[in-house]
């Protein structure tokens, strides 16, 4: 659509008159919903709705952050000990992966704003790739925690062989050496990162849907709202991680040499 109408769109016509070649449905383009008068009205409403949703998401996550704050004030030592069990390197790598995916998401919006369909496809694919990369790294981290029995809640301290009924040579319970209440840290760790990972997974699904619509040619210079809004959601996922990373991984970090 964008190729065919690119020239025609430069004509300055008055409202409600359309050039030939534009897909019509009633007297408005297909992408403009019937109940909106103008494209800008639809765009603003969509963005407003998305921001309201994002505000809700922030408040939703803030409950966990408040819980984190309370438990950290009570069990500061346990939180530091639990934090030291996390891989700072993997956390930082994942932060960079997610930040990069945010960049590619922003560039996907930019490309679709300019009506460059294939470029949009490329950026969306890169974003999805980064999202999968994030999940893979997350899986590796979780795996180590499971090996060490650093599990949430009442499962804390359960050795791996108790879960899988498989013998595990050289197993030693890391959990047993940590201070009391460290299970509180790992409960919050798994809930917060797990909920965040759930958002990442949902985001991947939405990105695939947007990718399909982009390939189908739904978007143009004049209508790129879904790409824009999906990117907003993706940036929110990034925002949450921006806070999760230092709060979970970097509590009073002591370099391995100076441990004690």
């Amino acid at each position: 659509m964008s190729e065919a109408t690119a020239d025609a769109e430069h004509e300055h016509e008055h409202e409600h008159e359309h050039e030939e070649g534009e897909e019509h449905h009633g007297d408005h383009p297909r992408w403009l919903q019937h109940h909106w008068d103008t494209p800008v009205q639809q765009f603003d409403a969509a963005k407003l709705g998305m921001w309201a949703f994002l505000g809700q998401e922030l408040l939703f996550f803030s409950g966990l952050f408040v819980a984190y704050a309370i438990y950290r004030t009570w069990y500061g030592e346990a939180f530091a000990a639990g934090s030291h069990e996390l891989s700072r390197f993997m956390g930082a790598t994942n932060t960079c992966v997610l930040l990069f995916s945010s960049l590619t998401a922003a560039l996907a919006v930019r490309a679709s704003q300019l009506g460059k369909r294939s470029e949009t496809t490329m950026w969306i694919l890169l974003t999805i790739t980064c999202a999968f990369g994030f999940l893979v790294i997350k899986y590796m981290e979780y795996h180590v925690k499971f090996e060490h029995g650093l599990l949430p809640g009442s499962f804390y301290g359960t050795p791996r062989d108790m879960l899988t009924f498989a013998p595990l040579a050289g197993h030693h319970s890391v959990a047993a050496e940590l201070p009391d209440h460290t299970h509180a840290f790992f409960s919050l760790y798994f809930v917060m990162t797990g909920l965040h990972a759930l958002h990442v997974i949902i985001g991947i699904g939405i990105w695939f849907w947007i990718l399909r619509r982009n390939l189908r040619g739904d978007f143009s210079k004049r209508y790129f709202t879904p790409v824009d809004i999906t990117a907003l959601y993706w940036h929110l996922v990034d925002l949450v991680w921006i806070y999760l990373f230092p709060l979970l991984y970097l509590i009073d970090y002591v370099p391995p040499g100076h441990k004690g």
Binding site: L48, Q56, A105, L107, F224, D238, L239, P246
Partner: protein, 231 residues
């Protein structure tokens, strides 16, 4: 790659001024923001390995907030967006602030009101402020029943403010491991029983028949205080 596309897509449709005029940021700007984000990530990792005591947390949160501001302003287009969207974000942050402030204030100042400064919240009655601290003497005297603790020790007309505060401590364990969070949650549940218990048991001050009928359902300390002053 680095073409300067700072233009707004001008009137390229039949809706003229009512077309969506997106502000198209330049590649360079987006990459600069990304590099800034990476820089702050490295900075926060570096800052975490410096021992600053409690300031470490503040530094980490400030750096994270700078990163969040970068993402919101540029990646999320708030800079060129309808200002109302920014207002929504600010409103959300404000209420998160309220959430944090009230909760942490409560958590931080439990126990301290009574023990450390001897604060008295109810100036008229001289009753102690409700908190998670349990007077051990009161506790011994009333092993099982809730509500009558405050009234037995103090001869002065006891407000049910203390009575409604006490069962909180009875039901929860006195040690910190029980968690002030739980005691806060149980106080709401304990309040109705405290309104029922003193009426039938020994509590002298609140034994007035209408005390049980009084609106004790609320756990707010002020309302019962005036209610039980009547007998």
């Amino acid at each position: 790659m680095s073409e300067h596309e700072h233009d707004h897509a001008h009137d390229d449709g039949p809706y003229g001024a009512d077309e969506v005029h997106a502000h198209v940021g330049s590649y360079r700007a987006y990459f600069a923001v990304f590099m800034g984000l990476i820089f702050f990530t490295l900075l926060t990792v570096g800052a975490a390995s410096i021992h600053l005591g409690r300031a470490n947390l503040a530094v980490a949160v400030i750096i994270a907030s700078l990163k969040a501001a970068l993402v919101c302003t540029f990646f999320m287009h708030l800079k060129d967006d309808n200002k109302f969207n920014s207002l929504i974000l600010i409103a959300a942050i404000t209420f998160i602030g309220v959430f944090f402030a009230l909760t942490l204030n409560d958590v931080d100042y439990r126990e301290k009101l009574d023990i450390q400064s001897g604060n008295r919240v109810f100036l008229q009655s001289g009753d102690q402020a409700p908190g998670s601290w349990v007077n051990p003497i009161k506790k011994e005297e009333t092993p099982g029943e809730a509500g009558s603790a405050g009234s037995k020790v103090e001869p002065a007309p006891t407000t049910t403010a203390t009575a409604s505060a006490q069962p909180t401590e009875k039901s929860a364990e006195p040690s910190m491991s029980a968690g002030p969070l739980e005691s806060a949650a149980t106080s709401a549940m304990a309040a109705p029983s405290s309104s029922a218990a003193p009426a039938h048991t020994a509590a002298p001050a609140s034994a007035a028949p209408h005390a049980s009928a009084a609106p004790h359902a609320s756990a707010a300390p002020h309302a019962p205080a005036s209610a039980s002053a009547h007998p």
